[in-house]
């Protein structure tokens, strides 16, 4: 075979791949390690890798200074709420584009993608004004709506990609058997496209979780999610790197845990369905 893989070649592959993996993972690992050091050890020269006095002090200081759970809860509601709402609106849209395509379908998809090209700052002012007028500034509901709208093009686009891979004949067969449109979508299409929907869900939870621009500009004290928590620690005054690392670790931990339990769907989602 042309592409026969010898054992040596395979070992080399594995070694190269894991080398790269470590290199990529290292800055994250370093941050996590630093969060367990004392401030003095965090900035020691030469840097210490593993042999330092492990301490949880940074975490308790960070927790004392700002109520982590409140930010976390806001993040969960905003990211989860906006994604689920988005998917509910996007499934019918993706269904019609995938199974009843018209001449305009491609244009509509492109147009939806183009709405992601406008710099967010460009529409911040009108949206800010609308928020004030509707009285939803600094509320979780306001952010759920905004983030849902911002990620909607991606959700529709991704669901469309996944739906298109499902043969239309199966849906036709269901219809022949007397399934109504609602049943066709709810009991035939949705279960079949579940891996794709899960990937879309995960990607958009992550996008909404990390979205900093809107969450910082449209919240103050009440609805501020973890991005605001992190931003409050980023001022370099005093250079408290161990505490900064602890705050960073706390902010990324939920996402890392979520990612760990959903590896396959996550990778598929992060690459917009290119990796199955």
């Amino acid at each position: 075979m042309a592409r026969a893989v010898t054992p040596q070649r395979k070992a080399l592959n594995t070694a190269i791949a894991w080398g790269i993996g470590l290199l990529i993972f290292f800055p994250i690992l370093w941050t996590i390690l630093t969060s367990f050091k004392t401030e003095a050890q965090a900035i020691s020269d030469p840097p210490v890798f593993l042999f330092f006095d492990w301490t949880l002090e940074n975490y308790s200081v960070v927790q004392e200074r700002s109520d982590y759970m409140r930010f976390l809860w806001n993040s969960v509601i905003i990211a989860g709420g906006s994604t689920i709402l988005g998917i509910i609106i996007a499934i019918p849209a993706a269904w019609s584009m995938a199974f009843v395509p018209s001449k305009r379908t491609k244009d509509i998809l492109l147009w939806m993608l183009s709405t992601k090209m406008l710099p967010a700052v460009g529409v911040l002012y009108p949206i800010y004004l609308i928020f004030i007028r509707m009285g939803i500034l600094d509320t979780r509901m306001g952010l759920v709506v905004v983030l849902m709208l911002i990620n909607l093009p991606i959700i529709v686009w991704m669901l469309y990609t996944y739906f298109r891979e499902i043969p239309g004949e199966i849906l036709e067969a269901a219809r022949m058997d007397g399934a109504s449109l609602k049943e066709e979508i709810l009991y035939v299409l949705t279960p079949m496209a579940m891996p794709g929907i899960a990937s879309t869900l995960l990607l958009n939870i992550i996008l909404a979780w990390n979205e900093a621009f809107w969450t910082l500009n449209l919240t103050a004290a009440k609805a501020a999610p973890l991005t605001a928590f992190i931003a409050s620690y980023s001022s370099p005054e005093g250079l408290f790197y161990a505490k900064l690392s602890a705050a960073s670790t706390m902010a990324i931990a939920p996402i890392l845990i979520l990612g760990w339990f959903s590896q396959k769907q996550l990778v598929s989602g992060l690459t917009f369905g290119a990796v199955k």
Binding site: G21, D45, A90, A212, S245
Partner: protein, 315 residues
């Protein structure tokens, strides 16, 4: 399990509703289904965009709402396009955009090509390398600031270890010449895995049989690479470039967190500059024109690019 759906089917949709739905063609239902998404996107994107376009022809300032708003025609656009500062910002953006894409594509593709076939721990490895993309740009900016610190930063330490330079002798984010590279490196770290994964998907989609046929025809490895691998992986590669291009043109959080646009204006990318004009100098009309120009630029470039992408796909 089988019970619940059957029961639901048995109960079916109420007769009048069913008749109404059946009376509609698939096409009509399709439009009804797409309508909410289109309407919402119009509301959140096009409506503010029109508002922004309207403002761009005025000298409105948000912080002085009681002042009379004057219609200034194209003056804002004229001023932006002749402003040296903005051209410098555009250059900084172009530098960032071109280098991040070039580096990510070359490194991403090279690594994907090296690895290509599945190997031990493939799935776990994939999870590890997608970690950077899962993190908030704000957090990434934070810990790269730490890594880039002279004397104590790990990045400087590693560079010093390999080159013999003094780790305290250079500052990635404080130096006018190095700062544009500092943001390129951080973004490359964060997004190369993305390009690599897409390339891997492309490479793994090429059937072995094509290579076998080429081998029978005595095509050299070099020839196989250029006539099989590259053309077949190209659509994937181009898609990755499209996504990265659009995202990096709007780059904001990561760079603000890392350098804040400094030192001087060397890393002030267009969206950072735009934010300053709009919410620090409060020149609303002017910054609206700025936003419109940026949008037209990205949209124009992306449209040309998508056309090219579709051509490549059809081949």
């Amino acid at each position: 399990m089988t019970h619940a759906p059957m029961e639901k089917i048995a109960r079916a949709t109420p007769a009048p509703v069913a008749r109404r739905i059946k009376g509609l063609s698939d096409r009509a239902i399709a439009w009804i289904f797409v309508a909410p998404s289109i309407f919402l996107l119009l509301a959140v994107n096009i409506f503010p965009l029109i508002w922004t376009i309207r403002l761009s022809f005025t000298d409105y300032r948000v912080n002085r709402p009681n002042r009379d708003v004057e219609w200034v025609g194209l003056r804002n656009y004229e001023r932006i396009l002749t402003d040296d500062g903005i051209w410098a910002t555009m250059q900084a953006t172009a530098h960032f955009l071109i280098w991040t894409i070039v580096l990510q594509v070359i490194i991403g593709f090279a690594l994907a090509y090296l690895i290509n076939k599945k190997f031990k721990g493939n799935d776990l490895w994939t999870t590890v390398i997608v970690l950077p993309m899962m993190l908030s740009p704000a957090v990434v900016g934070n810990f790269w600031t730490f890594l880039y610190q002279p004397q104590i930063g790990l990045f400087n330490y590693v560079i010093a270890f390999f080159t013999g330079a003094d780790p305290a002798s250079f500052s990635m984010i404080g130096d006018v010449n190095l700062a544009p590279w500092a943001i390129v490196i951080a973004d490359t770290w964060m997004w190369t895995p993305f390009v690599m994964l897409i390339c891997l998907a492309g490479l793994r989609s090429i059937p072995d049989s094509i290579y076998e046929a080429a081998e029978c025809d005595r095509a050299s490895k070099w020839r196989q690479f250029w006539t099989i691998t590259i053309p077949m992986a190209l659509p994937f590669l181009m898609l990755a470039v499209l996504f990265r291009g659009i995202e990096n043109f709007k780059m904001f959080d990561l760079v603000v967190q890392l350098t804040g646009g400094g030192p001087g204006n060397t890393t002030t990318l267009t969206s950072i500059d735009l934010k300053r004009e709009a919410f620090e100098r409060w020149r609303t009309g002017y910054s609206s024109a700025y936003a419109v120009i940026l949008f037209v630029t990205v949209f124009g470039l992306a449209s040309i690019y998508v056309k090219a992408l579709n051509k490549v796909k059809e081949r």
